[in-house]
C-alpha cells in the first residue's frame, strides 16, 4: 500500500495540517506529497523544476486538489493534467470550500473525477477523508499506465 502516493495540492498550511492529521487518524499511511501551489503540483507530476529527475512514470494514486491556489489555480492545473497524455486518466478529487455552482460546473467540465466540499466540522472532515481513502486508494481501479 505504500507505493500509492497521494498528491495533496493545498496552499493553506492549516488545511494541509488538518488533512494530514485526518489521513493519519484513518490509518492511511501512504506517502503524501504536498504541493503548495499549482506550479509545484505540475512540476511534481511532470518532473520539472524542484522535482526534476523524478521518475514521472510513477504517478500518484489520487490527487487531492484545492481550487484557490496562488500562481496557477486549481482549475488550470486540472486542465493541464487532463491535457497531457501521461496524466490524462489520473484520478483528481477536487477538495475545496466552495460550493458555488460555477466551480462545480467548471470542475466537472474540465474532467474532475469527484468534487468534495470541505466541511467545517472536523469530525465530518475526518469521516470524509476516510471515505475518500477507502474509495480511491483501495476500491477504485486506476487506468493502467502506458508503458
Amino acid at each position: 500500500m505504500n507505493d500509492k502516493v497521494i498528491l495533496l495540492v493545498e496552499d493553506n498550511p492549516d488545511d494541509e495540517e488538518l488533512t494530514l492529521r485526518a489521513l493519519k487518524k484513518n490509518n492511511i499511511q501512504n506517502d503524501v506529497v504536498v504541493a503548495r501551489d499549482g506550479v509545484q503540483a505540475l512540476d511534481y507530476l511532470f518532473g520539472n523544476g524542484a522535482h526534476a529527475g523524478r521518475n514521472v512514470s510513477i504517478l500518484p494514486s489520487v490527487v487531492l486538489l484545492d481550487l484557490k491556489l496562488p500562481k496557477i489555480d486549481g482549475l488550470e492545473v486540472l486542465k493541464k493534467i487532463r491535457g497531457d497524455d501521461r496524466t490524462r486518466f489520473l484520478p483528481v478529487v477536487i477538495l475545496t470550500s466552495s460550493k458555488e455552482d460555477q466551480d462545480l460546473i467548471n470542475g466537472y467540465k474540465l474532467g474532475a473525477n469527484s468534487y468534495i466540499r470541505k466541511p467545517v466540522d472536523f469530525s465530518q472532515f475526518i469521516d470524509a477523508v476516510r471515505q475518500l481513502g477507502l474509495y480511491w486508494l483501495l476500491l477504485n481501479e486506476p487506468a493502467p499506465s502506458e508503458r
Binding site: 484557490k68 458555488e100 470541505k118 466540522d121 472536523f122
Partner: protein, 483 residues
C-alpha cells in the same frame, strides 16, 4: 352644387372664366342689339315721318283739286323706299283718297283701315311686322287729310338677326379663347396646388419629412406652400428631436444595464469570496480545537473540554450562517424563469426525502395533488423545502404530527399553504417571523439560524406575491403564500 365642388380646379377656373367672359359678352351684345334696335327704329320713324311729310305736302294740291291720280303718282314715288309696304292718303272723313302698294296683289286696304280709328292727328304705331305712321296733310291753315305710311320691319329683323349671328359667333370664338387662355393660365394656379398635394401624399406615404413643396410666388398659394414647408420643417425637427431623445434613452438604458450587470458581477464575486475565504479559518478553528481535544483532552478538566466544545460549536454555527447568507443571496441573484410548476410533485419529493432521513417518525402527510403554479421552479422548490422542513422540525417534539400542503382560493386567486400541528408560535411575534436571522424559539429548543422564512419571503416577493402566517402556541401553524 356639390358636383361643381368636385370639379378639378382646372375646369372650375375654365368654367368661371368662360362664364364671366360669356356673360359679359352676352350682356354687351344684348345691350348693343337692343340699343341698336331702338336707334334703328327711331331712325326709321324719322325717315318715314319725313317721307310722310314730303308726300303729304306734295299730295296737298291733289287733295285740294280732288285729283286722286295725281296723288297716286306722288305716292308711287315711295317706291324709292323699299321698306315702305304701303301708303295711303285719306281725306278728312276717313275715306281713302289714294293708295300705294309696294307689292300689289297682297292685302290691300284692309291693312290700312284700322289706322284711322286713332284720335291723334299724327302718330305712329309699331305692330308685329310693320310700322304704321300717319301725318296730317295741311295746306295753309286747313287740315285736308291724313297720310298713312306702313313700313315693314323686315330690315330691322334681318339686321337684328345678323347682329345676333355675329354675337353668337363672337361668343363662341371668345369662349374658345377663354378656354384656351384659362387652360394656359390655370397651370399657374392649380400647378402649385397639385404639386403641394403630391408632395403631401409622398411625405405621408414615405414618412420622409425632408421633402419640400416647390414654391410658387407670393400669392395665397405661395403662402400656403411656404406654410406647408415650414410645417414639414417643424415636423422634421421634432422627429429628429424625438429620435435623439429615443437614442439617448436607449443609451441610458444600455448604460444602466451595464452598470447593473457590473453590480451583479461584483455581487457574485463577493458571494464567491465569502463562500470560500470565510470558511477556511473556520475550518482551522474547528479542526485544531478538535485536535486539541483529541490529543490533549485527557490533560484538560471538564471545563476545559467543554470550553473547546463551545469553540467548535461556535465555528460550526458560523459556517452554517455563512451558508444561509449565501443561499439567501443566491435567491436574489440570477434570472427568474417563469414556467408552469407542479407544486404537488415537489412537495411530495421533499416529504419523502424528509421521511427517508427519519423513517421512524409517524408523520401524517396530506398533500393536495395537481397544484400548478407559474414561477421559477428552482426558487419555488426552495420555498416548499423551507416550509416543509420547518413543519417537520417543529413537529419533532410531538408524538404524532400532521403536515398538510394545499391551496385555497380567495378573491379568485389561489393561496397556497403549509399547515402543521406542531409547536406553533405566539401571534404576538408574528411580525418578526420573516426577519432574517429572527427566531422565535431558543436555540436549545429547535435548531436553525432563522434564515429559512426570510428566504421564503424574498422568493415570494420576487414572484410578486405575499406571505403570512397564523399560529397558536403548541397547536401548530399555517403558512400562506401567493404568487
Amino acid at each position: 352644387m356639390s358636383s361643381f365642388r368636385d370639379l378639378p380646379i382646372k375646369h372650375k377656373l375654365t368654367a368661371l372664366s368662360v362664364l364671366a367672359s360669356g356673360s359679359a359678352l352676352v350682356l354687351a351684345c344684348f345691350t348693343f342689339v337692343v340699343y341698336d334696335g331702338w336707334t334703328f327704329r327711331d331712325s326709321l320713324i324719322q325717315t318715314v315721318s319725313t317721307q310722310a311729310k314730303m308726300v303729304g305736302y306734295n299730295s296737298a294740291a291733289a287733295l285740294v283739286f280732288g285729283e286722286p291720280r295725281s296723288a297716286r303718282e306722288t305716292l308711287s314715288a315711295l317706291n324709292a323706299e323699299p321698306r315702305i309696304i304701303s301708303a295711303g292718303v285719306y281725306i278728312r272723313d276717313g275715306k281713302l283718297f289714294a293708295s300705294y302698294l309696294r307689292d300689289p296683289g297682297r292685302d290691300g286696304d284692309e291693312a290700312l283701315g284700322p289706322v284711322l280709328s286713332h284720335s291723334n292727328a299724327e302718330g305712329h304705331r309699331f305692330e308685329a311686322n310693320h310700322l304704321d305712321l300717319w301725318r296730317p296733310i295741311i295746306f295753309g291753315q286747313e287740315r285736308l287729310g291724313t297720310i298713312v305710311i306702313r313700313a315693314d320691319l323686315e330690315a330691322i329683323r334681318t339686321r337684328q338677326l345678323r347682329y345676333l349671328g355675329i354675337a353668337v359667333v363672337v361668343l363662341l370664338i371668345s369662349t374658345l379663347g377663354a378656354i384656351l387662355v384659362s387652360f394656359g393660365f390655370q397651370r399657374s394656379i392649380s400647378g402649385p396646388i397639385l404639386g403641394l398635394a403630391m408632395t403631401a401624399r409622398t411625405v405621408s406615404r414615405d414618412k420622409d419629412f425632408s421633402l419640400r413643396a416647390r414654391g410658387s410666388g407670393k400669392d395665397e398659394i405661395g403662402v400656403l406652400v411656404e406654410t406647408f414647408n415650414e410645417m414639414l420643417a417643424r415636423i422634421q425637427e421634432q422627429n429628429q428631436q424625438l429620435q435623439k431623445a429615443h437614442d439617448e434613452l436607449e443609451q441610458r438604458v444600455i448604460e444602466r444595464t451595464t452598470q447593473l450587470e457590473a453590480a451583479n458581477k461584483e455581487l457574485e464575486a463577493f458571494a464567491y469570496s465569502v463562500s470560500h475565504d470565510l470558511r477556511a479559518p473556520l475550518r482551522s478553528i474547528d479542526g485544531f480545537s478538535e485536535a486539541i481535544l483529541q490529543g490533549y483532552g485527557d490533560q484538560l478538566d471538564q471545563q476545559g473540554r467543554s470550553d473547546l466544545q463551545r469553540v467548535r460549536a461556535a465555528s460550526q454555527r458560523m459556517a452554517q450562517l455563512i451558508d444561509d447568507i449565501l443561499n439567501l443571496s443566491r435567491v436574489s441573484r440570477g434570472e427568474m424563469r417563469y414556467e408552469a410548476v407542479n407544486l404537488s410533485t415537489i412537495a411530495r419529493a421533499i416529504a419523502s426525502e424528509l421521511q427517508s432521513v427519519a423513517p421512524e417518525r409517524p408523520v401524517e402527510l396530506s398533500i393536495l395533488d395537481g397544484v400548478i403554479a407559474t414561477g421559477d421552479p428552482r426558487l419555488l422548490r426552495v420555498v416548499l423545502d423551507n416550509l416543509l422542513r420547518n413543519a417537520w422540525k417543529f413537529t419533532e417534539k410531538h408524538p404524532t404530527a400532521k403536515i398538510e400542503f394545499g391551496v385555497s382560493h380567495s378573491n379568485g386567486k389561489p393561496v397556497y399553504f403549509v399547515r402543521d400541528d406542531g409547536a406553533g408560535f405566539d401571534m404576538a411575534y408574528a411580525g418578526k417571523l420573516f426577519g432574517a436571522f429572527q427566531r422565535l424559539h431558543a436555540m436549545t429548543e429547535f435548531q436553525g439560524t432563522g434564515i429559512g422564512l426570510a428566504t421564503v419571503q424574498r422568493i415570494v416577493h420576487r414572484h410578486g406575491g405575499r406571505v403570512w402566517a397564523e399560529g397558536k402556541v403548541e397547536q401548530g401553524a399555517i403558512f400562506y403564500f401567493t404568487l
